[in-house]
């Protein structure tokens, strides 16, 4: 830990503020240990090296591919039935 220990670091302040805020799972207060662990896990080396944190290139290409395919089929349908 670095910096002045008396001065709350931004992230601490955010997390403590969140204690009075929303929650993310059934029956749990906003900032329970699960949420805190989940937030920290998102920044862990394991997560950053996992497939979920990798490039979004493939899912974006897939989604755009389906979008273009759908629009192309829509045009074909209009031509066929109009």
């Amino acid at each position: 830990m670095s910096g002045d220990p008396k001065e709350p670091r931004p992230v601490d302040a955010e997390l403590k503020a969140a204690e009075h805020g929303f929650c993310t799972r059934a029956g749990a207060p906003a900032l329970d240990r699960d949420l805190r662990d989940a937030l920290i896990a998102l920044e862990s080396p394991e997560y950053l090296q996992s497939d979920c944190a990798g490039s979004l290139r493939r899912p974006l290409l897939e989604a755009c591919g389906w979008l273009i395919a759908g629009v192309a089929l829509w045009v074909v349908l209009i031509i066929l039935f109009s």
Partner: protein
């Protein structure tokens, strides 16, 4: 933590979501558009496009961060503004859940007529008794949590798809392939004889069906373990599940000339098998109802006080309106369904705002810790916790939608014939949200791409 790792399992679950029992009712409505095949194919294409957009807007962000849609939407709508999204979700879940209660109860009353025991004027009594029994059953099952939902879906959905496949086979066996291929409702009953407009209406219905997944898809993709399965299985599975059941119902309606599923089930499958299938569909509705109440319960737990309430009381709270509905099933079907259809339109605007915010303004980077920060220094606090720009754009889009197309009266404006309503409005939403955000908020600083690992003391 992320149970879905296989392509097939995720595809199956998504198909399950698309193949709820009310897809039979949707299919019967599709047939009345005009050309049956144009309607069925157009509906599938519309759902495919809608799901691709929803996948971009909420599926990918939730997959990336591991949080559900209401939380992920806070970056665009504001930490408090996301509550409006939650209200829409709860309204949809509880509303459509109660529509299903009413439909199931009325179907059971009609079904009772086909049994040897004649019930005569006791129809209303049967409907009330079935509705009350359903409410109690749903509460009992929903109280058991996600495991019960998963188990019910596992058994009911394959059954629904098998029943639809059986009905399709029966259609081709009982009527010739040529009859099925050429079957359309009589011209007098068609919504329009304009072929172009028929295609547009079918695609519009499909697009709206896709957009209704906006509140729910993030909850599913956050459970996916790999980028390989996060887009194609939900898009293809949901569109095909919904399209298949609706398509079978549309063909059956066109061939038999009757719009009520109970009527054409009896004609296509015969009185005994038709009644048995109807009974199965009534039971299968319970799975969808439990899922609706479960999703609604999860959503209202975003509110601090309700999050501390025991789960059994939360589900009971959501089912309170159902107790009233049990005694007024016909009123529910006559009056509330229109209101819910109007409510669904807001998801077009929300999808557009989420797309613009995540890809154009934030370049796919969201600071998750700030999504849970209810304080002025939070990055997504905006003004009083609400992004009023997003709210204004959503309201504008919804109003514009009704000018282009009224989903209840089906009245359309002239431009609808060229691109429908949802597609051009979604593009307008993206553009107006980006421009207005730049004007009002300026160029927002992008969150750091990689934040350092932080030590947190509680």
């Amino acid at each position: 933590m992320r149970p879905y790792s296989g392509f097939a399992a995720f595809l199956w679950t998504s198909a399950a979501l698309g193949s709820a029992s009310y897809a039979y009712l949707v299919g019967s409505s599709l047939a009345t558009i005009g050309n049956t095949w144009a309607s069925v194919i157009g509906y599938w294409i519309g759902t495919l496009i809608g799901m691709a957009l929803v996948s971009l807007a909420v599926g990918i962000p939730s997959f990336r961060t591991g949080i559900d849609t209401v939380d992920a939407a806070k970056s665009a709508l504001g930490v408090r503004g996301s509550l409006i999204f939650m209200v829409g979700i709860v309204f949809s879940c509880v509303g459509w859940g109660n529509i299903l209660v009413a439909m199931t109860a009325r179907s059971a009353a009609v079904l009772a007529h086909s049994l040897p025991l004649r019930v005569g004027s006791q129809d209303e009594g049967i409907a009330i008794a079935v509705a009350v029994a359903l409410v109690i059953t749903i509460w009992w099952l929903a109280s058991k949590g996600p495991k019960a939902v998963e188990r019910l879906t596992r058994w009911c959905v394959p059954g629904q798809l098998l029943v639809a496949a059986l009905l399709l086979i029966l259609l081709f066996v009982k009527y010739s392939a040529a009859t099925v291929a050429q079957a359309h409702v009589p011209v007098a009953r068609m919504l329009t004889t304009d072929h172009r407009l028929q295609v547009m209406l079918a695609v519009e219905f499909g697009l709206n069906n896709g957009f209704t997944m906006t509140p729910f898809l993030g909850g599913l993709t956050r459970l996916a373990a790999s980028r390989r399965i996060v887009v194609t299985p939900p898009v293809l599975g949901y569109a095909t599940g919904a399209g298949f059941i609706s398509g079978v119902a549309a063909l059956a309606t066109a061939v038999t000339g009757t719009t009520s599923p109970l009527d054409w089930l009896t004609v296509v499958a015969g009185p005994a098998l038709g009644s048995a299938i109807m009974l199965f569909l009534v039971v299968a509705n319970v799975a969808a109802l439990v899922a609706f109440i479960y999703l609604g319960g999860i959503s209202i737990q975003q509110i601090g006080h309700l999050s501390r309430m025991p789960w059994k009381f939360t589900t009971a709270l959501l089912l309170l309106p159902s107790v009233f509905v049990a005694f007024r099933t016909q009123w529910m079907l006559d009056s509330v369904m229109d209101l819910l259809t109007y409510n669904g339109v807001m998801f077009v605007g929300i999808t557009g705002v989420l797309l613009a915010d995540y890809y154009v303004l934030r370049r796919t980077h969201v600071d998750v810790a700030h999504l849970f920060t209810r304080a002025h220094h939070g990055r997504y606090w905006y003004q009083g916790g609400v992004n009023w720009v997003a709210m204004a754009v959503v309201v504008d889009t919804t109003a514009g939608y009704f000018l282009m197309f009224n989903p209840v009266t089906l009245a359309v404006a002239a431009p609808f014939r060229f691109m429908g309503a949802a597609a051009p409005l979604l593009m307008a939403t993206v553009l107006s949200y980006v421009v207005l955000s730049r004007l009002v908020h300026g160029r927002q600083p992008l969150p750091e791409v990689r934040r350092k690992v932080v030590e947190v003391e509680l």
